[in-house]
C-alpha cells in the first residue's frame, strides 16, 4: 500500500515538473477571468429571461470538465508506453513493488492531479460567482467532486485501451466512447424534456433501451453535477444512479488493467 502511494506521488511530482503544466493552469485561470463579460450578459432561453451569471457559470463549469477530460486522456495515453521506453517501469518493478501498486499508483496519481487541477478552476469559478452575487453556492464544490469521477473513468479507459492500442488511438477511442454517451444520454434527455413533451404530447414517452441504462453515464454525471449547482431536481435514466454506474465501470476497467498488466511482459 505504501508503494502505491509513493508511485502516485511520483506521478504527480513528475507531471508537475513540466513548465507547461503551470502555463496551462495560468492560461485556464486567466481565461476564466477574461470571460467575466459573460456573467453580466442577459440570456433569453425559450422566451424566458435567464439569470446571467448562474447560467454562464454553469456552462463554463461544464466546459472546464470537458477540457479536463481531454487533458486526462492526453496524459493517460502515454503512461505505460512512456514508462516502458524511459526505464521507469524497470526501475519500479526491479524493486519490491507489486504490479498492482505500480498500475494503481500511476492511475491514481494522474486522477488526483487532474482532479486537483479541475478543482482549482472550479474554485476560481465559484469565487467569481461569489464576488458577483455575494451568494455562497457550495454546489460548485460538490459538483466538482462529482465530476472528478468522470476524470477517473477517462484515465482508466484510456489506460486500458493503451494496453492494446497506440496511445493516440486509445485516446480517440475513449473520446468516441464519451461522445456516444453524450449523444445517447443527451438525446434521451432532450426527447424527454418539457418542450418535446409539449410538442409530442400524443406520443407516450418510451422507456429507455437496456443498453442506454448500462452504458457509461458520464453525461448523466455531468447533468447530476449541474443539478447540484442549480439546486434543481435530477432525473436520470433507469433505476441506477449515474454515479453508481460510472463507479462500477471504474472498478471494472481498473480490475481489467490489473489483470492484463499482471500477465504482461516487461
Amino acid at each position: 500500500m505504501k508503494m502505491f502511494i509513493k508511485i502516485a506521488q511520483y506521478t504527480i511530482v513528475d507531471q508537475m515538473r513540466a513548465k507547461s503544466f503551470y502555463l496551462l493552469l495560468a492560461i485556464s485561470v486567466g481565461l476564466l477571468f477574461l470571460m467575466r463579460g459573460c456573467y453580466s450578459a442577459n440570456y433569453v432561453v425559450n422566451g424566458q429571461q435567464i439569470e446571467g451569471i448562474g447560467y454562464a457559470s454553469r456552462v463554463i463549469f461544464q466546459a472546464i470538465v470537458m477540457g479536463m477530460l481531454l487533458m486526462v486522456s492526453l496524459i493517460s495515453m502515454r503512461i505505460f508506453t512512456r514508462d516502458q521506453n524511459d526505464g521507469s517501469v524497470q526501475m519500479f518493478l526491479s524493486r519490491p513493488v507489486q504490479r498492482w501498486e505500480y498500475v494503481l499508483g500511476r492511475i491514481m496519481g494522474t486522477w488526483l492531479l487532474s482532479s486537483g487541477f479541475m478543482f482549482l478552476l472550479h474554485l476560481t469559478l465559484f469565487s467569481i460567482v461569489w464576488s458577483h452575487t455575494g451568494e455562497i453556492n457550495l454546489g460548485y464544490i460538490g459538483a466538482s467532486i462529482v465530476c472528478s469521477v468522470n476524470l477517473l473513468f477517462m484515465a482508466a479507459t484510456v489506460c486500458l485501451f493503451s494496453l492494446f492500442l497506440p496511445g493516440f488511438i486509445s485516446a480517440l477511442f475513449a473520446m468516441g466512447l464519451l461522445s456516444t454517451g453524450f449523444i445517447s444520454d443527451g438525446g434521451y434527455r432532450l426527447l424527454n424534456s418539457q418542450i418535446i413533451a409539449v410538442l409530442t404530447s400524443s406520443v407516450p414517452a418510451s422507456p429507455p433501451a437496456l443498453w442506454r441504462i448500462f452504458y457509461p453515464k458520464f453525461f448523466m454525471v455531468q447533468a447530476y453535477a449541474d443539478s447540484l449547482i442549480s439546486k434543481s431536481n435530477f432525473i436520470g435514466i433507469g433505476p441506477i444512479h449515474p454515479l453508481v454506474n460510472i463507479l462500477a465501470f471504474n472498478l471494472l476497467f481498473i480490475s481489467l488493467i490489473l489483470i492484463i498488466f499482471k500477465k504482461r511482459s516487461i
Binding site: D14, A18, Q90, M91, S94, R95, P96, V97, K263
Partner: protein, 239 residues
Amino acid sequence: MSKIMIVLDAVTKKFGNLKAVDTVSYQIKKGEFFALLGPNGAGKTTIIRMLLGFIQPTSGSITINGVPSSETRARKKIGYIAEQHMIPPFLSGFEYLLRHASLIGLSGKKARLEVERVVEVVSMTGRERKKSTRYSKGMKQRIGVASALIGTPELLILDEPVSGLDPMGIRDIRIIIDTLRQHEITIFLNSHLLSEVEKTCDTAAIMHKGKIVVKDSIEAIMADGESLEDVFVKHVTQQ
C-alpha cells in the same frame, strides 16, 4: 540458512512457438561470481527477465534465496543493471538514485547518505545532480551501477553492464565490480566480453539456442589450456 542464492529448475520459456529458454537447470551459490555467456538470441536476457519477475517461465521454477522469483520479497536484496541502463529524462542522477533508495524503504537523511555513498563508489560525485539527458552513455551506466548498489544488495544482476562503453568506461565498471567481490555479493553477469569474464568470474555457463551447453568453474572450463573464447566458439559452432 541456505548456501544457494539462485536455483533454476527445468525452466522453459516460450514466446509463441519459439523456445527462448529450454529446460534450463542450475544453481548459483551465495558469494559466487557467475557469468552467463552465449551469442545474441541465446536466451540470456530472457533468464535475467525471469529472475527479476519481469516475465514468468512457461514451466519450471526459479527461486532467489529460497523465495520464488515471482514474489516481490525476492527482489528486496537484488541490484539490477540493465544493458544500456535507462534513466527517466526528467530526473537527475541524484533524484533517480533517491527513488531507488525510497523504493527499498530508505527515507530522509538515510536515503540521501546512501545515495551519496553509491555516487562516490561510481565516481560520479559532483555530476549526480545534472539532468540525465546531459549524461553520456558511460555516465548513465555508472548511475545504473550506483542504483544497483543502493541498500547493499545480496545479489547483483548485471545484464551486459559494459555494452556500448569505450575502453575507459569498461575499465572503470570492471574496477567497481571487482571491489564488490570483497563484499561477498553474489554476482550474476551476462556478458559478451569473454576476456573480462575469464579474469573476474568464478563460474560460467555457456548458453546456446536456449540450452545450457556448459556450466562449470572457469578453471575447469579452460582445463585443456584453451582460452574461454576457444571453448565458447567450439561449443557454439558445434551445436
